[in-house]
Amino acid sequence: MSSGQGRVDVEVESKRPDEPSPGEAHPNTCRGCGSHYRDDELEQTLRVCPQCGHHFRVRARERIEQLADPGSFAEVDEELRSADPLSFFDLRPYTERLAEAEIETGLGDAIVCGSAKIEGEECQLAVMDFAFMGGSMGSVVGEKFARACERASSDGVALVSVSASGGARMQEGILALMQLPKSICAIDELHESGGALLSVLTHPTTGGVLASFASLGDVVVAEPGALMSFAGPRVVAQTTREKLPDDFGLAESNYRFGHLDAIVARSELRPTLGRLLRLFDKGRG
């Protein structure tokens, strides 16, 4: 093990949604102030705690409902599914984990893409869902993101991405890592065509997604309190034995250090994106 000491995962902090362990708070209990809400109450408030402003996680489809003009979203590439190029088997086969995630989430993979209007502005939307295998990026996420870039180019509209990811998907091995350059190549083509990428980071955006498309928006904004670090806090603490600052990797810290253009509260996200889309509209559509 000597050669293994200090070698750590720098891509993946957590590959699955937090499992509520006994004694841990209910998902509808606010982590900020302990207030508890019914699901319909949280839906009303965009899943932001009315008491303290804590931003709960939002699933991809609900996020799209929050952002897109009613009835404007047209999903594409819904049928894409991951293959199992490595016949990956840890304690369970990858194919089994995929099937289970699909049943649990109702999604084919960790990203939902399509065309939409936000405040009347046409755009492409690519929204990640942390509930699907920790929002990990494998071949399907990379492919759908790249196709979203291509559609934005050909339609002459901007691409809005909303990320939520634990990083690259280990079960696809090196091919998962290759989704980083793949998404970046797609952004390069989008930029060449004059298109813009507006990147919204939500809790958490870490590892390979932060180290690729999420960081490369023409404008990069994050929700309050979102963790956005390349290596997760646990990995950093274990590797370096450093005491982590209270705001380690949070949007607020990243904003202070110059890695974000703005921190945007969820209630302001739709108007902010509408405003940016109007600013970047070059009448190409």
Binding site: V8, A168, M170, L210, A211, S229
Partner: protein, 312 residues
């Protein structure tokens, strides 16, 4: 009846035989070696072969970037600092002559003794290292010098300061810079190709891998800790995600494998350097004559198709 190991070798052999390999690199060497293994069939599980590569890739005597630089490049002049705030010793950059032409070199650098290891931070770069790399890439582009990168890192450094200085963004931007370059680019994984820290300098027209190098999305220990909840299961993890050169070639992630001296690069660094030089030169010659836009389009097209989707 052929054993499992033999079947596997035969399969690999037929796959390799049908593959378009680079001149002067893996090619014949690998085929011959596999044939030889087939001839003396042993019941070694391929998991063992994979773990052997993990150990060889991390061998303390394995040649590092600067060991190759002094053997391959003439007149190497090292360029220090990111012109912003620091000089990251985990990543070296410079200019030198390769086969008569000036090239820009970017490579991770590990240290061999305790003091040097600390100085090089075990080859784990901070964002400053990737910003230094981007500075060297911009220089290459400005002057039309081909870019050669040597990849050898356990991963980008996971620390508080690294995060505060923008590790994720630096890795993303370094890749974006490589996607845009107009000059020919060749990357070679010479030891550990560890995750984001590796891909940051490995987006190239031609990507090579030394025979016993590894290239992976996560370290075997990291993967084992998460999926098996026990870092001691690293061998199982490595066998599952297959970071060895042959699998990377089969998956289309690398374009060619550079043979190593029998027993690994550390047994004969001079011979390893010679093979590496041949491999890099052969790859460069393939792409140097292309028009710069064509090269960039080809580079993007190569990465655009990476990944495997289910056919339903």
């Amino acid at each position: 009846m052929p054993g499992e190991a033999e079947m596997r070798l035969r399969e690999r052999l037929s796959k390799l035989g049908g593959m378009k390999l680079l001149r002067g690199t893996k090619l014949s060497g690998e085929l011959a070696r596999l044939q030889e293994q087939l001839d003396h069939i042993r019941a070694d599980p391929s998991a063992e072969e994979i773990w052997q590569s993990v150990e060889l890739a991390r061998h303390q005597d394995r040649p590092y970037t600067l060991d190759y630089v002094e053997r391959i490049l003439d007149d190497f002049f090292e360029l220090h600092g990111d012109r912003g705030r620091a000089d990251d010793h985990a990543l070296v950059t410079g200019v030198g002559k390769l086969g008569g032409r000036t090239v820009v070199l970017v490579g991770h650098q590990k240290g061999r003794d305790l003091k040097e290891r600390a100085n090089r931070n075990f080859g784990m770069a901070y964002p400053e290292g990737y910003r230094k790399a981007m500075r060297a890439m911009a220089l290459a582009d400005r002057h039309g010098f081909p870019l050669v990168t040597l990849v050898d890192t356990p991963g980008a450094y996971p620390g508080v300061a690294a995060e505060q200085h923008g590790q994720g963004g630096a890795i993303a931007r370094s890749q974006a810079a490589m996607v845009r370059l107009r000059v020919p680019t060749v990357a070679c994984v010479i030891g550990e190709g560890g995750s984001g820290g590796a891909i940051a300098i490995a987006v190239a027209d031609r990507v090579l891998m030394q025979e016993h190098a590894i290239y992976s999305v996560i370290s075997p220990e990291g993967c084992a800790a998460i999926l098996w909840r026990d870092a001691g299961e690293a061998r199982k993890a490595a066998a599952a995600f297959k970071p060895d050169a042959v699998h990377c070639l089969e998956l289309g992630v690398v374009d060619g494998i550079v043979a190593e001296p029998e027993g690994g690069a550390h047994t004969d660094p001079d011979a390893a350097a010679q093979l590496l030089e041949q491999g890099i030169l052969a790859a460069l010659e393939e792409i140097e004559s292309l028009d710069s836009d064509e090269r960039r389009r080809g580079r993007r097209a190569k990465y655009r198709v990476m990944g495997v989707l289910a056919t339903t």
